[in-house]
Symmetry: C2
Subunit: 349 residues, 2 copies
């Protein structure tokens, strides 16, 4: 596992021209964790220096399967914003926006629903997988099936050319581009812009239990705001090598979460390589490896936690940042919505 | 067939309290005709004295199956508005609005999509029939399947309590009320209002060719703005009684379009009854009946046409009416959207 900021791949074969615009974001359903940090946050901190970057708190979208707990979504908008700022996303460089506060995104979704068939939505592999994952079957909320149209609205509203996503989300990007092309054909004008998926080379960060995905619902996360004690406890429980029973036994690196995390976070690469060789040879106990990992994580997360705690004291400041970002973003989205509606003959006054 | 304004029935068993609010409207896909006049326009002219009435030019909705001819929809917004004013809809009494200019309607649609399942939409009998009618099958645009959520948005945005619809549209009203109840349960507050279908006792006006429905696509209409010559030509082609071959033969009234129209429009009811008796007895030629009908239609439509032509000279005035109505309506819809979003935890600033 290498540092992700130098290791993303542009997928989906369309070459956007000119300055690149990124749309990215999160569903605000819980605090962000190390998985988010490796998979996206760390990249965004880099991207904001190179690209125009919109980061969306997708609260409307989060409601799709959280209608029974709307308060959770509301609460986590601020929590996730705190995570963003704590890891170094700079509101002067990145535009942080709240999805629900930009009605033009719903408007674009509404029109895009006429540009995609039900059959096409049902064939979308990402939607299919998510439907199975959430156990919806025939009782899928309509908003869940139509989610690709909403995502196309989010991306195209900002004329984003690059969308950082995991491999599994590529069909969503393809569907967005289909809608973009369909719309431009109807408009007989290149109003909307196709986008590329920006897929990180690195895989997902596993959970502390060794499961493939770190996820709040699996209870196997280390949150970015974790206390020192929580980090200690998590490292203690960490899944390593179940075959490494005695210190003198040779250890295995594959699937060994301690080493995967060290690969991701330990800045001392040479020392790490020595440690790996020792572990594989035998004679290096898990406790030493974990001690090193704990030191690395404590050092990395301490300033993030401190900054997060500091920022959390002034909620008014956070809301001000969200308000300004949302207003800025809304101007862009409103401009696109105006262009879209004009092309559809929906301008009158 | 009786005058519709005294003969509508409230359907769907919910008793709205307090002053009644009507939402009604048309898809602006062509000029309105006698079928619209009998089925709805005439009623609206009455309703505006009794109720608060919103009349929606459903241009966004019309796009659902007119993506290949968006210009047609744009053009007909003004044409239909001219029809409204020409028949006596008073913009000081009724609020005429353009759907696409009220983004809050798309916003509400977006949220309501989470309150209805795909299976429920697919079971909607009105949607089923329309899908068959339009030959969509598996290639239904998503916007067509989700149209009931959009209709629920239109109705509930204005907190309409009465919705004039045909018998076949009652499932749509039921679906709206399901969404309203579902939302109010989530909100734990009576924010949205259930509505009743207001179903006219009279049936549909048949086309001039005798087909059950007068419809632009069937080419069997008499438009409200029809010229004198067009009226003459239409009456000449009118379907009467195919068994009534010689003047002396007894004639039949059932399915006889000339008499159905006379029933609907001839103000001289006694003379009409005599004429019917004579026709049934035998000895009354179709040409006499048609002459009477032509006189009735010419007299009824002449002032409507004149007013229409006069209004059409000042497009600026029409646009002003549409703009003011839309602004007034938008305030109401925005208020509802704010309440809905606040209840879902989507208020921040």
């Amino acid at each position: 596992m290498s540092l992700p900021e130098q290791s993303t791949t542009e997928a989906v074969a369309v070459a956007p021209k000119g300055p690149q615009i990124i749309l990215t974001g999160d569903r605000p359903t819980g605090p962000l964790h190390l998985g988010h940090y490796v998979g996206s946050l760390r990249n965004r901190v880099e991207y904001q220096h190179q690209f125009k970057q919109f980061i969306m708190l997708a609260d409307s979208q989060a409601l799709t399967d959280n209608m029974d707990d709307t308060n959770k979504v509301h609460r986590n908008v601020v929590e996730v914003a705190l995570d963003y700022l704590a890891v170094g996303i700079d509101p002067a460089k990145s535009t942080i926006l709240i999805q629900s506060q930009i009605p033009e995104l719903a408007e674009l979704t509404f029109y895009y629903l006429n540009m995609v068939t039900v059959a096409r939505l049902e064939r979308n592999p990402t939607v299919k997988t998510e439907i199975a994952l959430r156990g919806f079957e025939r009782d899928i909320p309509a908003g869940f099936l139509t989610y690709p149209a909403s995502q196309a609205a989010d991306i195209s509203a900002f004329k984003a050319t690059l969308v950082p996503v995991g491999e599994d989300q590529i069909p969503m990007i393809e569907q967005t581009n289909e809608i973009v092309r369909r719309f431009n054909r109807i408009a007989d004008k290149e109003i909307l812009v196709e986008c590329k998926a920006l897929v990180p080379d690195i895989g997902r960060l596993p959970g502390i239990d060794g499961k493939a995905k770190m996820s709040k619902s699996l209870g196997n996360t280390i949150n970015l705001g974790a206390s020192a004690a929580e980090i200690t406890a998590a490292v203690k429980k960490l899944y390593t090598d179940p075959l490494h029973l005695r210190v003198e036994d040779p250890g295995h690196l594959e699937g060994n979460v301690a080493f995967i995390y060290l690969d991701a976070f330990d800045p001392e690469k040479d020392q790490l390589e020595e440690m790996k060789a020792h572990y594989v040879r035998g004679g290096l106990g898990d406790s030493i490896v974990k001690k090193r990992l704990e030191a690395v994580l404590q050092e990395m997360l301490a300033p993030i936690r401190a900054r997060r705690e500091e920022l959390a004291k002034d909620k008014g400041y956070i809301m001000q940042i969200l308000k300004e970002g949302t207003m800025r973003a809304r101007e862009v989205a409103a401009q696109t919505a105006d262009e879209v509606k004009a092309a559809l003959g929906l301008s009158y006054f």
